[in-house]
Structure formats: structure tokens, C-alpha cells
């Protein structure tokens, strides 16, 4: 029988009455108190998230950047230490295998390496996908460091305040999508200014044995701001308001980056990478469906799998994620809709378990933080 794996913080979550679920083989907190309270704390103050379930893959050696350049839809060979890029991994047909963050980093002893953060649910698949290509790029030292490390996200308007107090001053100078190898209390720590909530914030990677101390230090430093630990429930509502796609919902192997609205993450210029020829064909022909945002009338959320209908009742799309937005106080959804109907303002219907409800195509993201 398969048992779920713990993160270095699982026992903390359990001891703090979190409701736990199995997520991609990890025992993870879905919520501690209430999804809405955790969501709103992140929007108005600061929240911390155990995201240790995300896969962390390390590549080092002279060929590391060329290997990743061959695997990813965006260029890697021009990345300098400190840079982070959102990218995709596609199959030969141009279908999305995973969406990832790739970072170029430098150790304190000046050795360059790359870190690939992949979805927990795709880690095994990606390891298998990468494996045969290793031989074509000899000299790449590869390590799956997921289980030796923990990953903690600090998100919200007071995130910088916490980081300021717990990490060296240079970390505060990190711009959006920049990353650095540094220290927290003399222990190694990778910090990047990235996140999955639509707020300003940081993601920290620390050694497993340091995770609990860092987690508790963050909670202590954030107490005066009303910091809350945030579970996967609010992580999902936060990313949905920010219109960030989630693998297995908006993204899968049948969806290409252009249909998903992620064309910005594909660079076809003078590059050879997996999926490139299929993608260059798809780039120039408008797809039949597009990813859209929907505002649903009333209070009842449209959930994943709900059909989208035109005025004549024909099925013209499907919801991929939906919830009641805690910030906006109305139901929101993302889905794929017939491109002919995907213009902002278009009114359609969504079939919510048998009852047809009006919905309107709206611009994404649903929520935009004020800077």
C-alpha cells in the first residue's frame, strides 16, 4: 500500500490542527483555520506556505544550461546567475508536460548551477522524461534534491518586512523573478522573489533539518502583522484570483502553450528544443479554444468540469477551475471557451450541476494587487 510522504513540516501542521490531505503523494495541510481567513491574511498582511511538495531538481556542469535549453520552451543558455524564468516543458506534439521555474544560481564558492522547480504531481513523469536526454549532454551533474530540502513561500504586503528581519540585507534588493543563494542564521538558504498568490513575496529553499526553525522564525517575526500559516485550500483560491494556471486543471498534455495563453513562455527564435517544430506550426494558426476568465452571476461557484453553453445551449467550453473569490466576493472561474466567444464582455451560460447560470468573460487576472 502507498503511504504518503511527509514534508519536514508535516508534524508541525498536524500539531497545529491542520486538516491534512494527500497531495501528489505528500501529506499536506489543506487548511488550518479557514480558507477565507488564510486567503485574506495573505492579501492584507502576510501568509506562509509549506510548499515542500514541489519538486526541486538541481543541474550543474558546463552542459547544464544546454540540457535545460533543450528541455524548456524558453531560452536558458543566456541566463546569468540570479535570474529566474517561468517556462514550460512540452512533448514532441507541443502538449504541456509541466510548467516550471528555472533559476540560475551561484554557490558561495562561485560555482554556477541551475534549479528547476516542477509540480509535485509531475515530478516522477519529469524525472523519467529528462533521463534519456542526460546522455546527450555529458558532464551534467544531476540531483533530485526534493527530499533533502524544504520550500517555504512567504507572501503578502508584509513579506518584505519579515524577510528584512530574518535574512541578510542584500535579499531585500532582489527584484521580481530574481534569486540568490544566501544564509538564514548561518545556514544555507536559496531565496527567490517569486510566488503563486498575486502578492509580493519570496520563496525560500532550505535544508530539511533547518525547515522547522525557519518556519517558526517566520511565524514569530510576523506575529505583530497577524501572519497565518496558509494551506493548499487558500493557495488555490489565491492563485485562481491571480489567474495563474495550475497543472492538471488549466494545463495538461492535450493543451499547447498558445491555447493556454502562455505564448510568452515560448521562444522559438534560433532554438532547437523538444516540441519546437510542433510549436512553430501552432504559433501561426489560431486555436479553436482559448483560456478565459469568467465572472459567474449569483453566489454559486461553477466548479471544474462544468460545461459552458452558448445562447442556443450548445456546449462551447468547460470550466477548469472555479471558486467563490474571497477578495472579490463573487464566484470566479477559468476555463477553455470557443475562441469565437472568448472576447471580454461576452455573455454565456454555465451549467452548474443542472442549473444554467449566466457568466461573463472578463479580463484576467481577476485580482491585481495595488503597488
Amino acid at each position: 500500500m502507498l503511504t504518503s510522504q511527509n514534508t519536514p513540516l508535516t508534524s508541525w501542521h498536524r500539531a497545529h490542527q491542520a486538516r491534512m490531505v494527500d497531495f501528489a503523494g505528500f501529506e499536506m495541510p489543506i487548511q488550518y483555520s479557514s480558507i477565507v481567513a488564510e486567503h485574506l491574511a495573505t492579501r492584507s498582511s502576510v501568509g506562509i506556505f509549506d510548499i515542500s511538495h514541489m519538486g526541486r531538481l538541481r543541474f550543474e556542469g558546463v552542459e547544464a544550461s544546454r540540457l535545460l535549453d533543450f528541455l524548456l520552451t524558453r531560452r536558458v543558455t543566456d541566463m546569468r546567475p540570479g535570474m529566474v524564468r517561468y517556462s514550460l516543458m512540452c512533448n514532441a506534439e507541443g502538449g504541456i508536460l509541466d510548467d516550471v521555474l528555472v533559476s540560475c544560481l551561484k554557490t558561495p564558492s562561485d560555482r554556477e548551477f541551475f534549479l528547476l522547480v516542477v509540480n509535485a504531481s509531475n515530478r516522477a513523469k519529469i524525472l523519467k522524461w529528462i533521463q534519456p536526454h542526460m546522455a546527450e549532454f555529458p558532464g551534467v551533474e544531476f540531483a533530485d534534491v526534493t527530499e533533502d530540502t524544504a520550500m517555504i513561500a512567504v507572501q503578502g504586503p508584509f513579506a518584505t518586512n519579515l524577510i528584512e528581519r530574518l535574512l541578510p540585507a542584500k535579499v531585500l534588493n532582489l527584484k521580481y523573478y530574481r534569486s540568490i543563494v544566501t544564509e538564514q542564521m548561518s545556514k544555507p538558504c536559496i531565496v527567490s522573489r517569486t510566488g503563486y498568490t498575486g502578492e509580493d513575496g519570496f520563496e525560500l529553499i532550505v535544508r530539511s533539518q533547518d525547515a522547522l526553525r525557519v518556519w517558526e522564525n517566520l511565524l514569530l517575526a510576523g506575529r505583530e502583522h497577524g501572519i497565518l500559516p496558509v494551506g493548499l485550500g487558500a493557495r488555490d483560491t489565491l492563485r485562481l484570483e491571480a489567474a495563474m494556471p495550475l497543472y492538471g486543471h488549466e494545463l495538461n498534455e492535450q493543451i499547447d502553450p498558445f491555447t493556454a495563453g502562455l505564448g510568452f513562455a515560448v521562444n522559438l527564435e534560433e532554438r532547437i528544443f523538444l516540441g519546437a517544430s510542433a510549436l512553430s506550426e501552432k504559433q501561426n494558426c489560431a486555436g479553436n479554444i482559448s483560456r478565459v476568465g469568467l465572472r459567474v452571476t449569483g453566489r454559486r461557484p461553477a466548479r471544474e468540469g462544468c460545461c459552458l453553453l452558448d445562447t442556443e445551449g450548445n456546449v462551447v467550453g468547460e470550466v477548469t477551475s472555479g471558486t467563490f473569490s474571497p477578495t472579490l466576493q463573487y464566484p470566479i472561474a477559468m476555463g477553455y471557451l470557443s475562441s469565437a466567444l472568448s472576447r471580454t464582455g461576452q455573455v454565456i451560460e454555465v451549467d452548474i450541476r443542472g442549473s444554467k447560470t449566466e457568466a461573463q468573460v472578463v479580463e484576467l487576472p481577476f485580482y491585481h494587487r495595488t503597488k
Binding site: 489543506i30 487548511q31 479557514s34 480558507i35 483560491t237 454559486r300 461557484p301 474571497p326
Partner: protein, 130 residues
């Protein structure tokens, strides 16, 4: 209603029988335990007055930010009253689940049987083991 005298579905609905205008009326709601589990309620769907229900029928749903939970009728009967105000005031449900948070009333026959339902102790035992 006094929770100790009510009967329960294992799916967390409660039912109490009262006499109103010479008729046997079943009042149905959901328990404090269910509400603690649900958290963050956003929507509730209720049946029409007049709907004929059998024990075990789905008669509505409550929805939280995270998920949808169907409501199951504990007894046979006809819906005579629906607590429509709850739909716009879900806090009331969470604040007073055994009182002003009642959900529907059903007209039940004189020989309504509650034997298949859990009593208070059995229901609390089930919650403790959950």
C-alpha cells in the same frame, strides 16, 4: 431544539419531530460538527415547498469555498416550509445550527419511524471517531 433529543443521519443532518397545528412536523438541519468541517460557506440550495421526499433523498446542498456537500433527508415526508432566509445569511446557520439555522420542515405521517437514525450518543461517537 435540544441536540440530545434529536436523531441524526450519519451524513450529519439532524431531525426533530414536533406537533404544529395537530400535524406531525419534522424539522431538519445540519449539525455543528458538519459546519465546523465545512467552514467558509458561500451558497445553499434548497427544495421547493411541496416536494415529496423519502429518507435518503438529496434535498439540497451547502457549498463552501472548497467543496459542495449534498444534504440528505432523514425521513419520508412533504416539504411544508423552507428556511429561505438562510440562503442570504449563512452565518445564521453556522451560529445556531440547532435553532434558527433549521433548514426545512416536512409533514410526516403519524407513525413516522426514526429507528434507522442515530441517537445523540451514537452520532457524537461517530464524530469523535471521524
Amino acid at each position: 431544539m435540544n441536540p440530545e433529543t434529536l436523531r441524526y443521519n450519519s451524513s450529519h443532518e439532524w431531525v426533530g419531530i414536533v406537533e404544529e397545528n395537530g400535524e406531525q412536523i419534522a424539522i431538519v438541519g445540519i449539525t455543528d460538527f458538519a459546519l465546523e468541517q465545512l467552514t467558509d460557506l458561500v451558497y445553499m440550495a434548497l427544495p421547493q415547498v411541496g416536494t415529496q421526499l423519502s429518507a435518503g433523498d438529496e434535498f439540497g446542498e451547502v457549498e463552501s469555498v472548497k467543496a459542495v456537500s449534498p444534504l440528505y433527508c432523514p425521513v419520508d415526508g412533504q416539504v411544508v416550509e423552507v428556511h429561505q432566509e438562510l440562503v442570504d445569511n449563512l452565518e445564521q446557520l453556522a451560529q445556531d445550527p440547532f435553532g434558527s439555522g433549521w433548514i426545512i420542515k416536512l409533514r410526516v405521517g403519524g407513525n413516522v419511524s426514526l429507528d434507522n437514525l442515530l441517537d445523540y450518543d451514537a452520532y457524537r461517537k461517530q464524530c469523535a471517531e471521524a
